[in-house]
């Protein structure tokens, strides 16, 4: 007597069995038992206890994310001065689509942001020991800066001419956060004497 193969049993379990296999499983006690054993194995696999990692890998993920954000910010900082100069130049030739005060303010806050980036670089926050509280505060500020960078990236240079006031506001917020971030690192450096 021919019995179901494992392929047949798996197909039956997936409700895709052939007519012959379905009929055979009804008639053959041995194949019914095999099918039941298959169901049991799958149920036991699903019931295996969940294993948990011995080490917490979140700090490594977080540090990599923060390093990426910092690199992105630096790119913004370097390009900020160039963008400010370019915008000021555009202002001369296209005075009708933006108010001079916006462009001048935008150039100013971008330059300020770039200066703060350089200042932050001097403290080399990646390479220093810091307290948990300072690290958490710095991380929170960096998060908020990253959100603003994301918004700036979405506005983009192509739309800069249409929304100078929005850009100024975002860059001002960025500068404020950068100032707070620098303060965190300066305070920490003074405290630990680094």
């Amino acid at each position: 007597m021919m019995h179901c193969t494992m392929d047949d049993l798996l197909a039956l379990a997936a409700r895709e069995g052939s007519a012959w296999a379905r009929q055979h499983a009804v008639e053959c006690a041995a194949c019914r038992a095999e099918l039941e054993a298959l169901y049991q194995r799958v149920a036991q696999l699903k019931a295996l206890p969940a294993r948990r990692p011995a080490r917490d890998r979140w700090p490594a993920v977080r540090d990599a994310v923060l390093a990426e954000r910092r690199r992105r910010r630096e790119r913004w900082g370097v390009s900020g001065l160039a963008a400010a100069a370019a915008l000021a130049g555009l202002l001369v030739f296209r005075p009708f689509w933006t108010k001079p005060i916006d462009a001048a303010e935008l150039a100013r806050v971008k330059a300020q942001s770039a200066t703060l980036e350089q200042q932050l670089q001097r403290y080399d926050p990646d390479g220093r020991v810091t307290s948990g509280r300072s690290a958490a505060l710095a991380a929170a500020l960096e998060d908020r800066i990253a959100v603003i960078d994301g918004e700036l990236a979405q506005l983009g240079p192509a739309r800069a001419q249409a929304r100078p006031a929005d850009l100024v506001t975002l860059w001002q917020q960025r500068v404020e956060l950068m100032e707070q971030l620098v303060t965190v690192h300066v305070t920490r450096a003074a405290y630990v004497g680094l």
Partner: protein, 187 residues
Amino acid sequence: MTISLAVPDLLVARAKSGDLEALEALYRAFETPVYNLALRVLRRPEDAEDVLQETFLEVVRSIKLFRGEGHLWGWIRQIAASKALMRIRQERVRETEELHEESEAAGGGGGSRGGMNPGAVPVQIDLERAFEQLSETSRAVVWLHDVEGYTHEEIAEQMGKTVSFSKSQLARAHVRLRRMLDEGVAR
């Protein structure tokens, strides 16, 4: 293994905006299922931890692309499975694993008989040990299909193989599991 994987929409929205606290909350919510999947497939804890880390780096980088269609766990699981399978391909340890598997099968799994507590859910532990003795590819197919609920089409796509390959791997793996359990692996 029953773990609640429900995540508030607000938390996902915060994570998408780059909020580090929200991203950590997602990590905490999914670290066990991701690690567990990777460990079941790769077997070595250090490899599973690496996959966990790589998975969440990818999650953080790409969460803006998650459109909210389907459960977040499905999306994260896809990344984790992809990372685990990539590790199998990269490390090319299948050949040695299969040799190990064949020798274990031929010897009735005698190498892992010691050190068991005979009173502690023997069937489940037997199955767990038998499962660990399958090749990485077989473990991946069995785990993804039987536990995670992947279809053969999805497994084939993830592994860069055919549907027939996935089906035959599953059938062969179950034949081996049944044989090892009949022979009393780890009892």
